[in-house]
C-alpha cells in the first residue's frame, strides 16, 4: 500500500480516466418510442391504388413471377438457390415518384439502425430480368447481433420494395430467425412513426413459415400518395387471417 500522497495521485488519475471513459463511450441510439414491437391495428389504412391492382386481389400470390413482389429471400447453394425466409412487408412505390429504396431503408436508418454490418448473403428473384438479385439495401440494429437483433433486407423490383423483416436470435453459434412477426410489427411501427400508411397483413403471399409467419405481408406506403389517407376499420380485419403457420423447418438461417 502506498503513502497518502501517491495514493491520492492515483485516485486523481482514476478520476480522469473514468471521466475520459464516460466521454468516449457513445450514447444509445435515439429510437422512436413506438419501436416496441406492438402495433395499433385500429390505425390501419385502407389500400387504394390504380397502379397496383394485385394489392386488392382476393387470391393468394403463389408464384414469384405473378407480381413484382419477391415472396422469399434465397440462399445461394452449390445446386442453386434455396428459399430461407419469407417476404413479410411490401412497399408499392408506383404512386410515389419521389420515394425510392433509399427512402424506405432510411426509415430504419433514422431509427438508429446500421446499414453496414455482418450478415449472410441473400438474394431475391426478379421476374423482369429473370435472375436472382443480391440484397439491395439492408439494415440491422447492431453490427454482429451478439444477443439478437432486428434485421431487414430489401429489394426493389418494378417500383415495388419487398422487405424481409425478422428478429435474429443470439448467435449460438449461427444466427437463426427467432421471429418474423416481431420483425414485421417493428417495421410497421417504424413506418407508422414516420407518417407512412400501414395495412397490416394485407397481402396473402402464401409463404407461411415456422416459427410465427402467417403467410401475409403488410403493405406500407408513403402518405403523400393520393387517395389512401382515409382510415378503414375493415382493414384491421385482414390481420385476423394469419394463424395457418405451416410445419416448415425449425431453423431458418438468416
Amino acid at each position: 500500500m502506498t503513502g497518502r500522497r501517491p495514493f491520492l495521485g492515483k485516485l486523481a488519475t482514476a478520476g480522469v480516466v473514468t471521466a475520459a471513459g464516460l466521454v468516449i463511450v457513445p450514447s444509445p441510439p435515439e429510437s422512436p418510442a413506438t419501436v416496441s414491437g406492438t402495433t395499433d391495428e385500429s390505425a390501419d389504412s385502407a389500400i387504394e391504388s390504380e397502379n397496383t391492382p394485385w394489392l386488392e386481389a382476393d387470391q393468394p400470390i403463389t408464384d414469384e413471377d405473378a407480381t413484382p413482389i419477391a415472396r422469399y429471400q434465397f440462399q445461394a447453394t452449390k445446386t442453386g438457390f434455396e428459399p430461407t425466409a419469407p417476404i413479410n412487408v411490401v412497399v408499392p412505390l408506383a404512386d410515389a415518384p419521389d420515394v425510392d429504396l433509399e427512402t424506405v431503408i432510411g426509415v430504419f436508418e433514422d431509427a438508429g439502425w446500421t446499414r453496414e454490418f455482418e450478415e449472410y448473403t441473400r438474394y431475391a428473384w426478379d421476374r423482369s430480368t429473370e435472375r436472382y438479385v443480391l440484397q439491395e439495401a439492408t439494415a440491422a440494429e447492431t453490427y454482429y447481433g451478439t444477443s439478437g437483433r432486428l434485421h431487414v433486407r430489401c429489394w426493389e423490383f418494378e417500383n415495388v420494395v419487398s422487405i424481409q423483416a425478422h428478429e435474429d436470435d443470439a448467435a449460438r453459434p449461427f444466427h437463426v430467425i427467432d421471429s418474423y412477426d416481431r420483425g414485421r410489427r417493428v417495421a410497421e411501427a417504424l413506418f407508422r412513426a414516420n407518417g407512412w400508411g400501414v395495412s397490416r397483413a394485407a397481402i396473402d403471399l402464401d409463404n407461411a413459415e415456422h416459427p410465427d409467419h402467417d403467410g401475409y405481408a403488410s403493405v406500407v406506403w408513403p402518405t403523400s400518395r393520393e387517395g389512401d389517407r382515409e382510415l378503414d376499420a375493415d382493414a384491421a380485419d385482414t390481420s385476423e387471417t394469419g394463424s395457418d403457420i405451416d410445419d416448415g423447418p425449425e431453423v431458418n438461417p438468416t
Binding site: 503513502g3 492515483k10 444509445p28 447453394t77 449461427f174
Partner: protein, 218 residues
C-alpha cells in the same frame, strides 16, 4: 523493441508476455477477418459485388459472427483467468465492436457494445483476482498479500464507466432491446463483488496500518 517488450509485460495486459502476444495476435487476426468480409461487400469484380463471386463470403460471415460472439461474451473472462491483465481483458470485447462501429460509420451505444462493456468489466475484475491468485497460489488472495492499487484503481474506473453506461443504456433503449440485454445484468454481480471486496480489504489495511506505513504492494 524494449518499449514493446516492456509494454507486453505490463500487468495491465497480462502476467505472461507470451500469452499476451497470443491474445493480441488473435485480435489482429479477427480484425483482418472482419475487414476481409467487409471488403466482399464493397469491392466489385466486373461490376458484381465480390461477395457474389463465392459462397465463401457467406461462410466467412458465419465464421466471423461465431468468433466475434465468443470474443464478446466468453473470451475476455477466459483470458482473464488464463493470463490476468485487466486492461486487455477489458479491451478484447471492445475491439471487434468498435471496429464494426467504424466500418458502419456510426458510433452509438448499441446492444453489442453494451454487452462488450459489461463482459469487459467482468473480465477486468476477474483478471484482477486471477493475477493475485497466480501470484500467491491461493484463492483467498487478500489474506496472503497486499493489493496492487494500480490494478484496483484501473478496474474500478472501467467498472464505473461500464456501469454508468449500462444505466444510460437501459433507461433509453426500446423494451425489446432491454429484454435482449437482461440476461447480462446478472454479470454485474462479478465486478461488484470483486471490486467491493478489494476495496473493503484495502480500507481495513489502511485503518490497521495507517496511511504512511511501508509500501506493501509487490
Amino acid at each position: 523493441m524494449g518499449l514493446v517488450t516492456d509494454l507486453l509485460e505490463h500487468p495491465l495486459l497480462g502476467t505472461d508476455s507470451r500469452r499476451t502476444r497470443y491474445a493480441i495476435a488473435f485480435l489482429v487476426g479477427l480484425v483482418a477477418l472482419v475487414l476481409a468480409s467487409h471488403a466482399g461487400t464493397v469491392l466489385t469484380v466486373g461490376g458484381a459485388p465480390l461477395e457474389t463471386t463465392s459462397q465463401g463470403f457467406d461462410l466467412l460471415s458465419a465464421v466471423i459472427i461465431v468468433i466475434v460472439v465468443a470474443t464478446i461474451t466468453v473470451v475476455p473472462i477466459a483470458y482473464a483467468g488464463w493470463n490476468g491483465g485487466p486492461g486487455l481483458a477489458f479491451a478484447i470485447p471492445l475491439v471487434p465492436v468498435t471496429l464494426g462501429e467504424f466500418i458502419s460509420r456510426r458510433y452509438v451505444l448499441g446492444l453489442d457494445m453494451m454487452i462488450a462493456l459489461t463482459v469487459g468489466a467482468v473480465g477486468a475484475a476477474v483478471a484482477l483476482y486471477a493475477t493475485d491468485v497466480r501470484a500467491t497460489g491461493c484463492f483467498r488472495v487478500w489474506n496472503a498479500r497486499s493489493i496492487d492499487e494500480n490494478l484496483l484503481v484501473f478496474v474500478t474506473s472501467v467498472s464505473l464507466v461500464a456501469s454508468l453506461s449500462a444505466i444510460s443504456f437501459v433507461r433509453s433503449v426500446p423494451e425489446h432491446v432491454f429484454e435482449l440485454y437482461t440476461p447480462f445484468l446478472v454479470l454485474w454481480l462479478v465486478p461488484t463483488v470483486i471490486v467491493c471486496t478489494y476495496w473493503g480489504v484495502w480500507v481495513r489495511a489502511a485503518v490497521g496500518t495507517g496511511r504512511d506505513h511501508r509500501p506493501l504492494e509487490s
